[in-house]
């Protein structure tokens, strides 16, 4: 029993799922591999990316932010301008087309911030699929506008009250539904996580971000950026933009995890940042860095942004970190909120709180760089969904 594609990223990745699901993973891999050389499939995908998602998304020079920081020139890859307001739609549409190809009628999805849930509901509506989204009740409370959007799009949103009531538990419930209904149901996993072939599929569908960004920066300034920065929850937007530059050895790749209330507080989701709690383990079908206690129980995490509030990181990021092709740091809730306001004021862009973590790192880093250096940031989503959270957090600090 061997896979068509390599199921591992170095020592990470793999397929740690119940036997019931193995045939579905094999079927999915076969469909994905066949789709890559199927001109019709690629044509349909590319057409939807252009005419429905609105790709290519622009690359915006952040002039006032660059001037304010007084260092590197900052460019924003505007995934917030993709239809539904985040990069998640790229993968959701790609997988939904695979679902059609496999002849399945129903998708289940997990969501943290709600962006992947909205993207899945959108793809399902577009292609005539039944859609059920699992969402932790804590996240439902803090991302209410997205819950309403999913319902408007015809999806059923099922609250998850088990465990920590956040993304991790939503994934558990989505997998439980999938294993029960696997014959007619596809699990539309939204991040570069989970068992093979998901991390590879999600990267492939998100690689459009990196491909476009590379072409755009070359066209705009005639050279590659010095640094590429993205936030990392499971890591799909980061792996998407990194994939365009990973072979350009001189381009520094930086992933920003959720530092929550600070690493020392223990309340965070920095899988690479906390040497005492992060160990290599297995969760949700993949081997990777996992925040856990000494007994191997998965740790509770915290972040102001629901989309980064998760105990594990995509296995390819684990490999990129080990072989030092990418570097990972973190931004605290406070730093992310401050960056959120800064971008609103200087650029007229309201970023998602997830993406604000990447902006926070730019703010720390740009002033230490020369004016002829270039930083490209993936602005993974827009912040409309976060207004309630920001209002509440800002009120706390008044």
């Amino acid at each position: 029993m061997s896979t068509l594609l390599n199921p591992k990223f170095g020592k990470y990745g793999g397929q740690f799922v119940p036997e019931t699901l193995m045939p579905a993973l094999i079927e999915l891999e076969e469909a994905f591999v066949a789709s890559r050389t199927d001109a019709e499939f690629q044509k349909e995908f590319n057409k939807l990316m252009a005419s429905f998602v609105g790709r290519p998304t622009p690359l915006t020079y952040a002039k006032r932010l660059s001037e304010k920081l007084g260092g590197a020139q900052i460019y924003l890859k505007r995934e917030d301008l993709a239809h539904t307001g985040a990069h998640k739609i790229n993968n959701a549409l790609g997988q939904a087309l695979l679902v059609k190809r496999m002849g399945k009628k129903r998708i289940v999805a997990e969501t943290g911030a709600g962006q992947h849930g909205v993207a899945s509901a959108t793809a399902a509506a577009l292609l005539g699929l039944e859609c059920v989204v699992y969402m932790g009740s804590v996240d439902i409370a803090r991302q209410e506008p997205n819950v309403f959007r999913m319902k408007l799009l015809g999806a059923e949103v099922k609250p998850v009250n088990s465990g920590t009531k956040t993304l991790k538990d939503a994934i558990n419930e989505a997998i439980r539904d999938w294993v029960t209904n696997v014959r007619d149901t596809h699990y539309l996993l939204g991040s570069a996580l989970g068992p093979h072939p998901y991390p590879t599929i999600v990267r492939e569908f998100q690689s459009v971000i990196g491909t476009e960004a590379r072409e755009q920066i070359l066209l705009e300034v005639g050279r590659l950026p010095d640094t590429v920065i993205a936030c990392v929850g499971g890591g799909s937007n980061a792996i998407g933009v990194f994939s365009g530059f990973v072979d350009d050895g001189d381009v520094e790749l930086i992933g920003v995890e959720a530092g929550g209330s600070g690493i020392d507080s223990g309340k965070h989701a920095a899988r690479f940042g906390d040497a005492t709690k992060a160990k290599v383990g297995v969760i949700h079908g993949t081997r990777t860095y996992v925040l856990q206690d000494a007994d191997g129980q998965i740790a509770e995490t915290h972040s102001v942004s629901a989309g980064l509030d998760y105990a594990a990181v995509g296995p390819e990021h684990a490999m990129l970190r080990d072989n030092e092709r990418a570097f990972y740091t973190s931004a605290t809730d406070e730093e992310a909120l401050s960056a959120f306001h800064t971008l609103c004021h200087t650029e007229g862009i309201i970023p998602a709180l997830e993406s604000s973590h990447a902006i926070a790192e730019v703010i720390k880093r740009a002033s230490t760089m020369r004016k002829d250096q270039i930083v490209l940031v993936n602005l993974s989503g827009r912040g409309d969904k976060d207004l309630n959270t920001v209002i509440n957090e800002t009120a706390k600090n008044l």
């Binding site: 397929q15 740690f16 193995m22 383990g281 297995v282 191997g296």
Partner: protein, 257 residues
């Protein structure tokens, strides 16, 4: 020493209840497992708790969550297995748990300590054949029980069943653990197709909740695994140990008729 698992399968069909250590507390769970063993269970699936049990339904999720809140760890669970052996329980005890806590404990250490405590094998639901070599290298003489599902292709069945040791755990339905109103259609064909590839006993689990259902499945399979009904019935009882005795007696009785 004769292999305890082979010994247990001399009188088929066997009755194999599941119960997690630490639920409703550690002491009672030890008493319950002892009572199950001494009143009709032929093997017991001893549950190790995990924070994210993705193959389990709400009843077992809740029970293992209580066990974790009570501070259960692999270390304490293995000490409990030792205590159960000390109380004269001779039937096979199969440790059922998810992979990550075993990895955190250290696989080789875990297997060594489990064997020393008196365990006879392992069931790891999130470890399919594709990922099992690491565990098998660590596991030594004890069997890692292979699982098959209704979705397994005949090619997979052949490859997995051929390597099976101890017994095969055949999942009767697509889904998570939990009682079902009726036994899955096509179960007898499913069992027959597994038997084409192996001579080890085939035990059926997932969805069996009553002695009548156990009898129905027992007529086709070599053993019946009962988890959720066992946890729910005993866990909701004011006298769990007495209930465990009755529960084991009823299921064993139904299978012997």
């Amino acid at each position: 020493m004769t292999n305890r698992i082979e010994q247990a399968f001399k009188n088929r069909p066997i009755f194999m209840p599941y119960f997690p250590l630490g639920y409703p507390n550690l002491e009672i769970s030890i008493d319950v497992i002892e009572a199950l063993a001494k009143n009709g269970a032929d093997l017991i699936e001893v549950g190790l708790s995990f924070s994210d049990p993705l193959a389990d339904g709400p009843v077992i999720q809740q029970a293992t969550q209580v066990a974790l809140e009570n501070g259960i760890t692999i270390q304490k669970a293995l000490a409990a297995v030792k205590e159960i052996r000390k109380r004269g329980v001779e039937i096979p005890l199969i440790l059922m748990g998810y992979y990550n806590p075993m990895l955190a404990y250290g696989l080789e250490q875990f297997v060594r300590d489990a064997q020393e405590a008196g365990a006879d094998g392992f069931i790891v639901p999130d470890l399919p054949a594709e990922e099992s070599s690491e565990f098998e290298n660590a596991v030594g003489d004890l069997p890692l029980i292979r699982m098959l599902a209704p979705t397994s292709s005949s090619e997979r069945m052949e490859k997995i069943a051929r390597k099976a040791k101890g017994f095969i755990y055949l999942v009767s339905v697509t889904g998570i653990t939990g009682e079902r109103k009726t036994i899955a259609d096509g179960l007898s064909d499913l069992i027959a197709s597994v038997r084409e590839h192996t001579s080890v006993p085939v035990c059926v689990g997932f969805g069996i909740g009553t002695p009548e259902q156990a009898k129905e499945v027992g007529a086709m399979a070599d053993g019946v695994i009962v988890g959720t009904a066992c946890v729910r019935t005993i866990g909701s009882s004011e006298n769990p140990v007495e209930t465990a005795k009755e529960f084991a007696g009823q299921f064993r009785g139904a299978l012997s008729k």
